[in-house]
Subunit: 396 residues, 2 copies
Amino acid sequence: MRRAVEESVLLARAYLSRVCEPGSFVLWTFIERVGPVEAARAIRLGVAPLEVMSLTAARRSSADAASDLDAAERHGARLVVPESDDWPHVAFGALERVAGPSKPGVCALVPPTALWVRGHADLARIDARSVAVVGARAATPYGTHVTAEMCFGLAAQGVAIVSGGAYGIDAAAHRAALAANGITVIVSAGGVDRPYPPSNATLYERALENGLVIAESPPGSAPHRSRFLSRNRLLAALGTGVVVVEAAVRSGARNTASHALALGRPLMVVPGPVTSAMSAGCHQLLAERVIGAILVTGWEDVLSVVGAIGEVLPEDGYVPHPAGDLRDDLDQLEPTSRRVFDALLLRRYLTAEAISRRSGIGVLDVVRTLPSLILTNLVESGASGYRVAKRVQAPR
Amino acid sequence: MRRAVEESVLLARAYLSRVCEPGSFVLWTFIERVGPVEAARAIRLGVAPLEVMSLTAARRSSADAASDLDAAERHGARLVVPESDDWPHVAFGALERVAGPSKPGVCALVPPTALWVRGHADLARIDARSVAVVGARAATPYGTHVTAEMCFGLAAQGVAIVSGGAYGIDAAAHRAALAANGITVIVSAGGVDRPYPPSNATLYERALENGLVIAESPPGSAPHRSRFLSRNRLLAALGTGVVVVEAAVRSGARNTASHALALGRPLMVVPGPVTSAMSAGCHQLLAERVIGAILVTGWEDVLSVVGAIGEVLPEDGYVPHPAGDLRDDLDQLEPTSRRVFDALLLRRYLTAEAISRRSGIGVLDVVRTLPSLILTNLVESGASGYRVAKRVQAPR
C-alpha cells in the first residue's frame, strides 16, 4: 500500500519544477532548508532570499502548479517527488552526496526538484538495477549493432535500459530493450509530452507500455540546450553504471561520462575501429588511465560490473585434478603463483587484499603475480577483483 | 672503426648456437660462468656439467661451427655476439636482468647465445628506437590497414619496425616500413636463410635492403614450434615497446605480450570492433587493468610512448589569454583545478608527483582533479604524465 503524498507538497514541487530551470544548487539548498511548501510560498510571495528570487523572477507569478498537474494527468503522467514511495533514492542520493554550487554555465550536480513520469514501470525497481547507455546521435551501423546486442542482452537479464530518446545510440538502446520485452526509460530533455526528436514519437509511445518517459521540466517544456545538459546528470544518476558506445572526441557522451565519474558510477566504454571518428571519444576515455573507464565488449561484461555477482554465471563445478594443457599450466607455476592461484575462488571475485589475506602473500607480490596468471588464462578479473578463469571451471 | 671479435669467440658462439636450442637458462649461466670458448670446449669434450651435457647431447659431436659460419657468409649473413660492438645491449640487457630458470615447456627469458644477422642496417641503432609489432596471421582488412598506417608513420619518424615475418599483421608491418623507406627487422624463427612462410621470401629479400633478418638458430634451421616461442622473447626484447594490433583470445601475440611485461617494456594495444574475433584478444588485454596495457590508435600514440618526448611535436606557442570557449573553460575552473592547470607544461609531460610539487597541491588532490581537466579537454595525458592539451596550444 502506497503512502499518498500530501497535496500541498505535490502542488509546491510542481510549482518549483516550473519556476526554476533544472540543476540549480541555490534552489535545491533553499528547498532542503525550508521544505518545498514554504519554499514555494516564499518565492510566490517574493520573500525568498535574493539569490532565489533572481533565479525565479521570470516565472514566479505565471507558474500554475494546478494547471501543470492537470496537463500531466491528461498526458497520463504523474509527479514523483522526494516524498513519494517510488522516488529513486539510490540514484538521486548520489546526486545529493556530491551536490555543490554550480560553476558558471555548468549544470550543478543536484537532485531534481521533482520528476514528471509517464508509463507503467516502477521507478523504485529501476533504481535498483539499470544501465544508462549513451552515445552519438550520428551513430554508425557498427555502433547501433553493438548497442542493440548489448541492450537486448541486458534487458533480457532484467536490467533497465536508461537513455535519452535521441537518434542513433539512444534509439538503438531503447528499441533493443523493447525487443527483449525489457524495461526502458527515456529521460527527456523537454516535457514528457514533447518527444524529441519528434520523429521518435512512436518510440516514446512504445516505451510507455513497458517502461517510462521521465522529465525534470513540466509538461509542455521545450528541449532547450541547457536542459539537455542538466538532463545528462539524471542519466548518469539513474544508471547503476553508464555505458558509452560511440562518441566523437567532443561530445555530450563525454559530459555524461564526467557526471558518472563525479557520482562514483562505473563508467564503461565500448571500443571500436580506430579508423572510426565515432569511436575516437571512446578510445580517448579508455586511454586516459586516470579516468578509470572500464572496457566492455558485450552485455556479459556490463553485467559483471553492475549486476549482483554470480547471478548469471552458469552452474559449474571445479575439477581439482584437471587434465592436459591445464594441468601443465598449473604444474609450471612457481610457488608464489601457485599459492595466489590456490587462494582464489571459483565464482566470487576477490580483491588483491583478500587474496593476500587468504594466501599469506603480501599484496604487492599478489599484484605482481596476477598479470602472468591472467595471461596464461588461469585467472580472470572483473570489476571487483579476481577469480579462477572459466576454462578451469569444467562443466559438471 | 669496429673492434674485431676474436675468431675463437666467434667459432665458440657459432658452435653454442648450433648445439643447444634457444632459450636455455642452463646453457646461458654456464657460458656466463666460464666464458664462451671454455663452454664450447667443455661441451665438445663431454666434460661440461651434467645438465649442460644432457641439453647438448644430440648435436655436440656433429655441430660444425666453421661450416655454419661459411654457410652464413654464403647467405650474406654475419654472426653478432655479445662481444661485438653492434650487440643490442639495451634490448638484451633487459633479458639478462630478468633471466631465471625456465619452467618446463616454457622458453626461459635469457639473452640469445648469438645472433645470425643478414642485411645492411645497424643493429645498435635499432636497439635505440624500435617498436615490435605483433598480431594475428589471420588478420582482417581492418587489422592490416591499421598496421600499415601505424608502421608507415612510425618508420617515417625513424622508428625501426620489428616483427616476425609471418602472414597478416607481421607482413603488413614490414611492408609499411619498407614503403616509408624506413628500417624493418624480421626476427625469424628458423635460420636467416629460411624465410617462413616461404611465400614471404620476397618480403625477406626486401627487408635486407634497408633492414635486417635476424635469427637465433644457425643457417638451415627449420622454424619449429618451440623456436617460434623462444623467438617471441626476442621480439619483445628488441622493441622499445610492443604493439599488439589484432589477436584472438588465445594467441601467440599474448605470449609476446607477457614477455613484454616481464621485460618491463610498454605493452601497447590497438582496439577494434567488439564484433571481431580478431580483436577479442586485444580487448582482453586492455580490459585487464592489472596488466597495464596502453590503448593506442595510431603512430602518434605509439611515438608518445616510445619516442623521446617533444621530438615530433609541431612547434607551437601558448596563448596566455585564449579567446571564446577556452577562456570560459579556464574561468570556470575552481581554484584547485586552476592551480593544477597552471602547473602544467606545454610540451613536456609531468607526473602527478611533479605537478604536485609545482602547484603545492597534494598528489591525491592532483589525481582527483585531473580527470575533469581531461574531460573538459584542457589537459591531455601521455604515458609519462600530463600536459596542457593541444587545443590550448594555438599555432604561432
